[in-house]
Symmetry: C2
């Protein structure tokens, strides 16, 4: 984890852009303190529960990067009154009007970023949709604070190879720079120009006009990130510890006590060149057994086999032996657990337990 953090920080320092890490991956104060550039942030979060927990831990500069619902503005105002500079995100005039109204009623200016749709992946205003951008900007300007624009290259998770990832990053950059230009030319403020995804953060060749980069999963990495070429398998800094509870020798199966409840049901490598099933199986030192994967998972049972079509050999694991399983998706697998057991390098001595949290309220 320390190496992963240092790698992205060094890269962005070299490009002169600040890092606003997404804390949704770990949902853990101890990880947040190591990944943020200061104890006060900046930080990105995906739920108001995260905002409240991290604010309580001293984080002050918090971007809530999921489109705001009007019913959540009361909690945003409470967090702001408590000293946390919480910024909201929106992509409709209705939301902008609601944020402006809540601001006027509370006698404060809630800051908001306009979400830009850079790749048709999910939410946001197209950067070519000039009039809608201006309508949202003016609606915000009527009581709230238009702080800037934000986008997320969600399509980068389906890109393959460095060249495709560089193109995603450039499309991501240009979408917000174009939108910022539209707002500024109309006399509206746009101090923040925010981009981000782990794949584009690690591949952008040019970040001209961008003020900050958001990324989350880079802190741990996972098999999807390794599969699309953003990291190596050795960089993955989180695993699930499981115990062998049975064999079906005729079928070449080893059964472990980690099913989808422990691994998550994320099958993000299904569409990649190497399908890792529900996870890649390693020994206790974290060294992968060649081509050994969790091929199927029930609620509390994992079925380990050699990857179909490979020449790997099933290792001789006895009842009670333990293995480490690398996850497809660090965010999803982390969410199935209450805490991280912290180990250093290949040691299995637990140095600390770091609690994580889930939920919305």
């Amino acid at each position: 984890m320390e190496q992963n953090i240092a790698r992205l920080r060094t890269r962005l320092d070299g490009m002169g852009v600040s890092l606003r890490p997404h804390l949704k991956t770990a949902k853990c104060v101890e990880v947040a303190r190591r990944v943020m550039t200061s104890p006060a942030g900046p930080a990105t979060i995906s739920t108001l529960l995260e905002a409240a927990r991290f604010a309580a831990a001293g984080v002050r500069d918090i971007l809530y990067a999921v489109g705001i619902a009007p019913s959540k503005l009361k909690q945003v105002l409470e967090l702001r009154a408590g000293g946390a500079d919480v910024t909201v995100v929106l992509d409709t005039v209705e939301q902008a009007q609601a944020v402006a109204l809540a601001s006027r009623q509370a006698g404060t200016r809630i800051p908001a970023l306009i979400e830009i749709d850079c790749d048709g992946h999910r939410s946001g205003v197209l950067p070519t949709h000039r009039q809608l951008l201006l309508d949202i900007g003016h609606a915000l300007d009527d009581g709230a604070e238009l702080r800037g624009v934000i986008t997320h290259a969600g399509a980068s998770y389906s890109a393959r190879g460095a060249e495709a990832l560089r193109r995603c990053a450039e499309v991501e950059r240009r979408s917000v720079v174009d939108a910022a230009t539209i707002l500024r030319e109309a006399g509206l403020p746009c101090p923040v120009v925010s981009v981000g995804s782990t794949p584009t953060a690690h591949h952008a060749a040019d970040l001209t006009g961008v003020t900050e980069v958001r990324a989350g999963v880079f802190v741990f990495f996972d098999l999807v990130m390794a599969g699309i070429g953003v990291c190596q398998v050795e960089d993955i800094a989180v695993s699930v510890l499981a115990t062998v509870i049975g064999h079906q020798r005729d079928k070449g199966w080893i059964l472990v006590d980690a099913g989808w409840m422990a691994l998550s049901q994320d099958r993000g490598t299904r569409r990649l060149a190497v399908d890792q099933g529900y996870g890649l199986v390693c020994d206790m030192a974290g060294i992968p057994y060649p081509d050994l994967i969790v091929a199927d998972a029930n609620q509390e049972h994992g079925i380990i086999t050699v990857r179909p079509g490979s020449s790997g050999v099933l290792p001789d694991l006895a009842i009670g032996d333990r293995v480490r399983i690398l996850p497809n998706h660090a965010c999803a697998t982390g969410a199935q657990h209450r805490a991280y057991q912290v180990v250093r390098g290949t040691s299995d001595r637990v140095e600390a337990e770091w609690l994580r949290f889930g939920g919305w309220q």
Copy 2:
């Protein structure tokens, strides 16, 4: 939920077989008390954390239905010393020897069921594997208590229609009855003959020789159970409440603040006749919008669309409107939440909050 519990209880009462509900679906003391036939059980659980939590709530007859690892026997002994009759499950001679050794060392007899593989789905000894059954039985008899046999028709989740489900149930029944006969003819005890899965529990035509039925998801049901014909969509007793946070009108998308973190990544209806995406969308009274599904899900965003190929119409939902989303898999979706908000019928008044728990320790 009350109707679902009454339906299975009435059915099994009529067949003269007891119900040992699987508490892993809800992981909630209040649900457990309503689904068990007495406050002391019997009950089935899938982790030793569940055993500890339910034992603390007064449950006494607890079957830990995942193959035992020797390292967990210390905790089993502690729970038993505290008054909970915890039974373990195993399918190898090594496990039986470990349970017998731990029993002798503790001066007690840990009860164990031998797991039978009725359909090649996961773990267990084939009921035709007479010698292995006897070897395990004799190994247990050397200090532990051979209490019987257990199987789970995991393949029933891929069966389609009442006739196929009846056949699964009969294969399930016969596998354990045959195994029990082998043990008894060799002079070994076999008082418990345990079968179970929600699909087979609701379709078994004959349970001769069976002493108890286990089932879990019947308490809530879900879209997978509806899809294979075990319940109707109207029977589903759990949903996720979500708020509209955006639109992509050109694409026919409604965005809500429930992504896979709230819904789980279970896509169990993908292979059924009707693919429900990440969930079926209902109004606040729980009435489904025709063919409206969560077609895609990111961590905290759900993308609602009309099911591809259907003639359904996108409802006119505004920013801030709320919907209920029925889950593919009640166990997986429940696991993403800290508590159930209890409502009655079509009311949205929350009568109570029932906490649930997760994790392993």
